[in-house]
Symmetry: C2
């Protein structure tokens, strides 16, 4: 099928399914149902069945899903059946925390380069990775063909750094700076901004 | 109007509008249009007008929006026209980074208490806040009537700590642990999981 036709909202749920399935697998469980999965992640069983059926047949009626098989397929669809190099740009507190975060293991990502523009930080090591000067970023990213960056610079610098990342060939940016980034259409951006997430909840308090 | 009827997807966009308006205000700009706002945040002008009109009249046809007025109204709707106390539970690297994060200023939140269960960390200070023992969490949260928590404990502990937060009266949890939390219906959870965000983008690479 033409994968371009899968709505973005469904693609957005697949990592959630994959994460839950990997938790079940870690507990040594081999089979699950849309019902069980739905209860784990707060999504209806019908929705899960519908989403997953977009990608083919994943289990016989009544027998549920084979967890290893479904994990493998979802990893293939999301292209995390490989390990992507990811760079971190901006080595403040958040950048440090992400560079040392062990939650990427087995999820398809490895932090391979760190960048900052502060002379105090350049040359230092975090988790055995040296912090490089931002002046060398475009060249290094191009050379290593890195496609994914996590951006943890201050808001005032974020758009300019994003422009450089795009110039270097980066196609996916996880943006921790609290502003919207303007990028070309073939570049994806996801935003992590805790204040925005909190403001989504205060409405209901 | 009955605010309960506003779809969650619209509520989710309001913090994005508010953030962009505050950036314009910081630059000394007093008026904007749905067109300009839309270009800043990558949402269509028509969508913005439609979302904002749910809450009443915010500008005359052709004259655009008064930024200070729209900020005030959005802050009121999202209930961030006040400052909410927020606690951080789990003082690893991410917890430290969040406790020291200056991005909450003027957005309606203040980190007021920190918790961990490690004897090495309890009693230490981060940003002039003492790290308290998790044993005292339920009592302290109840006493201060805190409604919002950021959860940065390991995945293996997150559900148990979330249960305690709910018991203590917390109604909104920003969950940094890479798993779905099960909570009662009157408690809101937002998830920040960088690997999940990255996996949403690799599909398109």
């Amino acid at each position: 099928m033409n994968s371009e036709k899968i709505p973005d909202i469904i693609i957005g749920r697949l990592p959630i399914y994959l994460r839950a399935l990997q938790r079940l697998a870690d507990r040594g469980i081999h089979n699950t149902s849309s019902q069980e999965l739905g209860e784990m992640i707060g999504i209806s069983a019908a929705q899960i069945r519908k989403d997953i059926s977009q990608f083919g047949e994943f289990g016989k009626q009544g027998t549920g899903y084979s967890i290893p098989f479904l994990i493998e397929r979802l990893q293939g669809i999301l292209k995390v059946d490989r390990v992507w190099d990811v760079i971190v740009v901006g080595m403040g507190d958040i950048g440090h925390a992400i560079a040392g975060y062990n939650g990427f293991v087995n999820r398809g990502f490895k932090v391979t380069m760190l960048f900052d523009n502060s002379p105090d930080k350049i040359g230092q090591k975090v988790n055995e990775l040296e912090i490089y000067s931002m002046d060398s970023m475009v060249e290094r990213v191009r050379q290593e063909k890195v496609k994914i960056a996590m951006l943890t610079v201050p808001a005032s610098a974020a758009q300019e750094v994003a422009n450089q990342l795009v110039k270097a060939g980066v196609k996916a940016i996880l943006n921790y700076a609290p502003l919207h980034l303007s990028v070309p259409k073939d570049v994806r951006v996801q935003h992590i901004d805790p204040a925005t997430h909190l403001q989504r909840m205060t409405y209901y308090l």
